[in-house]
Symmetry: C2
Subunit: 227 residues, 2 copies
């Protein structure tokens, strides 16, 4: 669904730091090529084969960007939450980005999508737009290095503890409603290893495992594992 | 050692795409704050604790940027070769870079170092400089994702084969003069696992192991393992 020009101008001032540096023509071009889309939890938004979906503005919900191997293995690179803008789905804007990511809606999400080729055109004309796109990507660079450090340097107990802690804070709930399979995907480990470690954490009285998910029962002990 | 202004201006036009967008004052400021330094192979140039060494221009040689864990584990992120510029050592210029890398001279290297705080000042004044710095970092983002894919998605035989092949091409020699320990560091694996795999490759007639290093004797078979 296209969005109205007046609403678009109001919205974009909030998301795009370059907005005031655009000509009126450029503003109208971006707005005219913006769609408002709703995605159900779990829907794929951008595939590894899609060259340039465009800039995705998360109005509400949460997106997950990940690498996908030929045999289906995943590495979560980063998440885009309410108010954030994803440029990794706009590789035609950022020629230095040579890898392909997959982006799914991790929760029910409302997004605006600015067409990639239009964004690329404006970015070529206006250095402030290019600058924004690059800065947006570099921020994610830091996220990805963090993920890499987690995977390579941390032991599995620490990785799971950090993940559970972050989930608890993010969802503001001590009940983590995820399967072991899902957790394994998020932290790039194997399902069996995650199950084993969760059982260990349960035996230590840190979590409780049940059909409804993983309940954190000793926050202090969990916290201690994350540092 | 400081470098002469006239020489600096000549050199910088080649390395910095933003050069013609600078004021005369900015050009002089950058040149006045440039040092020419020689590093012996293996020397540390930038430590994880150093906040802002500056932009490092590789006049000759090769630098290696890596992450270092508390217990000494390393992950090689990328290399900077002759003619390339490293901005990961200038985190004060790039505020979105929140991780710390260590940078060593991997070969005897001649570099120019532009002081970080001076580079940051000019970058704040001139969007073309900021744009250059961001673009330089985003290129490395792609390198790092590639490394991550190698580590997470490829089996060890493939990783070692890719590494040996790249080393052969890079050094233009079929003799790889590295210890198993060094190779393990480069590909972020364990020394024992590398030794086991190299013995396997030797038994397959792909390489020959000796005191002088690893000699590639069947390029075709090695190549087949990399794809």
């Amino acid at each position: 669904m296209a969005i109205e020009l007046s609403q678009c101008k109001l919205v974009y001032r909030k998301y795009f730091s370059f907005w005031d540096k655009l000509s009126d023509g450029q503003k109208e071009l971006l707005c005219a090529n913006t769609r408002s889309v709703s995605y159900k939890k779990g829907t794929n938004i951008h595939g590894a084969e899609d060259s340039c979906t465009g800039a995705i503005i998360v109005v509400s919900g949460c997106l997950r960007a990940y690498l996908l191997s030929e045999n289906g293995k995943e590495i979560t690179l980063c998440r885009f939450k309410t108010g954030e803008v994803c440029m990794l789905s706009a590789s035609c804007v950022l020629e230095s980005i040579t890898f392909d990511v997959v982006i799914d809606a991790e929760e029910d999400s409302e997004v605006y999508i600015v067409r990639g080729d239009v964004m690329a055109k404006v970015s070529k004309e206006n250095i402030y737009v290019e600058n924004y796109a690059l800065d947006n990507a570099v921020k994610r660079f830091s996220d990805v290095v963090w993920v890499m450090q987690q995977i390579m340097f941390l032991s599995l107990d620490k990785r799971i503890a950090v993940f559970l802690w972050d989930e608890m804070v993010r969802t503001d709930s001590t009940v983590i409603k995820l399967t072991h399979e899902q957790i394994a995907k998020y932290i790039s480990s194997a399902r069996e290893a995650v199950t084993r470690m969760l059982r260990y954490l349960a035996s230590e009285g840190i979590v409780e495992l049940s059909r409804k998910g993983i309940t954190i029962i000793d926050k202090e002990k969990l916290r201690a594992l994350t540092v």
